[in-house]
Amino acid sequence: MLKLSGVVTSYGSLPVLKGVSLEVKGGEIVCLLGGNASGKSTTMKTILGTVPPRKGTIEFDGQRIDGLPTAEIVRRGISLVPEGRRIFARMTVWENLVMGAFTRREAPADELTEDLERIYGLFPRLRERRDQLGGTLSGGEQQMLAIGRALMSRPRLLLMDEPSMGLAPALVDLVFDIIREINSRGMTILVVEQNASVALSMAHRGYVLKNGRIVMHDRASALLEAEGVRRAYLGEA
């Protein structure tokens, strides 16, 4: 479904991704591991086109998407839950969700209403708080809102950048349950995590990124046992 080949991305002259190749197949949960500053978020931004790649290709459903504007990439079915959630603090929950559908300008209103209902079904908490400002939600609720907002563009591939970041352990489990649930309904997911053991227990396959290069990839269960993973994602050695 998604295929990166030799992707190089730089900020200014400094290359951050130095030839990343990875693949996500339809229906999978793929986990991208790596220590701090290894380029995980940059990989996500490159796929979504908010930062353009310098070299390499990105294919989605067999078509090149590198170089396309973000709006077009979102319209084709990729959506990102950004690192740190980044919900719109002074907009209501409802407005945040509607904002997620920004690229669906031709969608009839009842279709959007239907999608909102589906998201409220997934996150009943959001329905209760739909007129509350996003900034007043708790961390866990904000994460649900960020996921719900990303789903409003009707993606087929959901990118998630450290969805467990800054959440209490109980909430981390909840978020991963949600990811599993969304996946079981047919969503393909590429998730970035520093929390390797939890992430791998849910993913089908995983990649380990280090200094802008993929240094390891395997089935999740195999990675979970691999000695090198702990070292890699801790950024040691």
Partner: protein, 335 residues
């Protein structure tokens, strides 16, 4: 009283206003209220809607005034009609908004404020020094003898005539602002104001949306500048001091950033209060300053709740209506 009746009453009041004030001087004050409200509505698009703190807004006001003066005065012996010169002025002001906006696209908050402040000063210096080596702006002497607007057989000369002209443009600015607040681009601006990175993730072309905000803001300033030149019949660099940027910004903040009714009230108060305090003679500006401080202490978010664009009024709009405003074809921001 229904919203519609309130609006009608308010509109009739603005029509009758010149006949309700004691003298011609006050009709001039009313005219200035219309002028500054138009300017404040323009700055509100940039600061209130898109969240871009622009401290050099007076630059566009100055550019508008001078362009109008160039097009309709003996200075270049061009005597274009008001109805031709003003649209041209607005177009040029909009382009200047894009040109001055473009270098600031990566800047936010304080940095944007400093750079725009610099632009305001640069334009002022250009106006003052623009008489050498080639005389373009006529330097400190300004441009005199600007043509008054004509409409049919009427040549504008008296304050109440200008008042109705200015009021018409104010209403136009208000109408455009209202439409923008509830349009796709209004949503895009609001998202950018809240979180630019997230806005980009939603598929909003933030570069384009910000330039559109600068262009719309500068257009309103262009209208204001053209109106000022045609009313004052002369323009001078000192009409466009930094103080004016702050004054207009204060109008936006006082009423409630992003809130249209607030901007109107803010501009009205800030033009009218110094006049009301005239009786205090030299303590006039002191009284005015104290008034501002007291207001901001008791209403820190402005007289009206600010910071919300295209606010959903639960009783007046349904979910469907608002959703439609998001998906209806508008300017192609998300391209």
């Amino acid at each position: 009283m229904s919203l519609w009746m309130q609006r009608t009453a308010l509109f009739l009041l603005t029509l009758a206003a010149p006949h309700l004030v004691p003298n011609d001087y006050w009709i001039g004050v009313l005219t200035r209220i219309c002028l500054y409200t138009t300017l404040a509505l323009g700055l509100n698009v940039v600061v209130g809607f898109a969240g871009l703190l622009d401290l050099g807004y007076v630059a566009f006001y100055g550019i508008g005034s001078y362009i109008y003066a160039f097009l309709a005065s003996p200075h270049f012996a061009l005597h274009l009609s008001f109805w031709v010169a003003l649209p041209l002025t607005v177009a040029i002001a909009a382009v200047s908004g894009i040109l001055l906006g473009a270098p600031t696209l990566r800047l936010r908050g304080d940095y944007l404020a400093i750079v725009t402040l610099g632009f305001g000063e640069i334009v002022y210096l250009l106006l003052i020094n623009g008489d050498r080596p080639v005389n373009i702006t006529n330097g400190v002497n300004g441009i005199l003898g600007i043509d008054p607007p004509r409409l049919g057989s009427l040549t504008f000369s008296r304050n109440h005539e200008y008042y109705y002209l200015f009021l018409a443009f104010l209403l136009l600015a208000l109408l455009i602002s209202t439409r923008l607040a509830h349009s796709r681009i209004g949503w895009a601006w609001q998202a950018i104001r809240e979180d630019e990175v997230a806005a980009r993730v939603m598929g909003i072309n933030t570069t384009k949306a910000k330039l559109q905000a600068f262009a719309v803001g500068a257009s309103f300033a262009g209208i204001g500048g053209g109106l000022l030149a045609s009313w004052q019949r002369s323009v001078f660099p000192d009409n466009f001091l930094f103080y004016e940027s702050i004054n207009i910004l204060a109008m936006v903040i006082l009423g409630g950033v992003g809130n249209l009714a607030g901007v109107v009230v803010g501009a009205t108060l800030l033009v009218a209060l110094p006049e009301i305090f005239r009786g205090f003679h030299r303590y006039r500006m002191l009284a005015y300053g104290l008034m501002l401080i007291v207001l901001m202490i008791f209403r820190p978010r402005g007289l009206f709740e600010g910071n919300r664009v295209g606010r959903r009024e639960p009783e007046t709009s349904t979910l469907e209506e608002e959703t439609l405003s998001l998906v209806e074809p508008g300017p192609p921001v998300g391209q």
